[in-house]
């Protein structure tokens, strides 16, 4: 069986795919994907944000959970009107964009509440990126 680029990389590593309903309520920094261990790195290949109800100035951010989070995508919504997109896609290519090693993938949305409504889809993979100490950390890797 053969796959295209995106799935091939996912099959070679440990794939993930998350779908999240954005309800309009405030979401504080929340794990969309928990990294397998401190020795793994998460790679995000694609983020799709489908907005079904627009509310101006409210935003969604996708970031890692480092002490100083590193954002990889952010969208601030606008009032629904001609030219305002209902879907935003971040396509980071088959290799994907890397988070900080050992960090989880977080998202946060609609600070203050009563924000936009939509569906968030994220897919990618994780791979071991540091040496595993079999004596102390084998079970976590």
């Amino acid at each position: 069986m053969s796959f295209g680029d995106y799935l091939q990389i996912q099959r070679e590593n440990k794939a993930f795919q998350v779908d999240i309903a954005i309800t309009g309520a405030e979401v504080l920094a929340t794990h969309a994907k928990t990294v397998r261990s401190a020795n793994h790195t998460l790679y995000v290949q694609r983020i799709v944000l489908s907005i079904t109800t627009h509310v101006a100035t409210f935003s969604l951010t996708v970031q890692d959970d480092a002490n100083t989070p590193v954002p990889i995508a952010k969208r601030t919504d606008l009032a629904g009107a001609a030219g305002v997109p209902d879907v935003i896609e971040w396509n980071f290519g088959p290799r994907g964009t890397a988070l900080t090693a050992g960090k989880n993938l977080d998202y946060l949305a609609n600070a203050g509440g009563s924000g936009f409504v939509g569906r968030l889809h994220i897919e990618g993979y994780e791979k071991q990126s540091a040496t595993v100490n079999l004596g102390t950390a084998a079970s976590a890797n």
Binding site: S2, D5, I72, A73, V84, E89, W90
Partner: protein
């Protein structure tokens, strides 16, 4: 094992992928990927610029060759967030990618003049040998 178009080219040659977190502070011309030798050529398949914080009229990213007169292959000047202003800009040069000059490195710069946008930039592509190697003088670097 099989690959799609983009990765197939990367696997057949010397693939690369880079992630850059740009800041509001100006970054002058910097080497992203140093070409392997004067006989190699770098091909860029895809550049993705995800804008986290917009800054009007400021350079989000410029990607260019290292020639004395750089050849720019991609540049985006940001705007204030508004209808039609993208949060993500994708340059998809296809699986074969767009080449830069033979033997030149791949450079980038951003936030010219300072107070620029904050972005995540992802760049991937490959490099391949495209000129005859003189084994007696340059084998080690090829």
């Amino acid at each position: 094992m099989s690959f799609g178009d983009y990765l197939q080219l990367q696997r057949e040659n010397i693939g690369f992928a880079y992630d850059i977190q740009t800041t509001a502070n100006q970054l002058t011309t910097t080497v992203l990927r140093a070409v392997r030798s004067t006989k190699h050529r770098i091909y860029v398949q895809r550049i993705v610029c995800s804008i986290i914080t917009h800054a009007n009229a400021k350079v989000a990213i410029t990607v260019q060759s290292s020639n004395a007169t750089p050849v720019v292959i991609a540049s985006h000047t940001d705007l204030t967030a508004a209808a039609g202003v993208p949060d993500v800009v994708v340059w998809d040069f296809g699986p074969l990618g767009t080449p830069i000059a033979l033997g030149e490195s791949l450079n980038y710069l951003y936030s010219t003049g300072g107070s620029g946008p904050v972005c995540r930039v992802h760049i991937e592509g490959y490099e391949k040998l495209e000129a005859t190697i003189n084994l007696t003088t340059a084998a080690g670097s090829n």
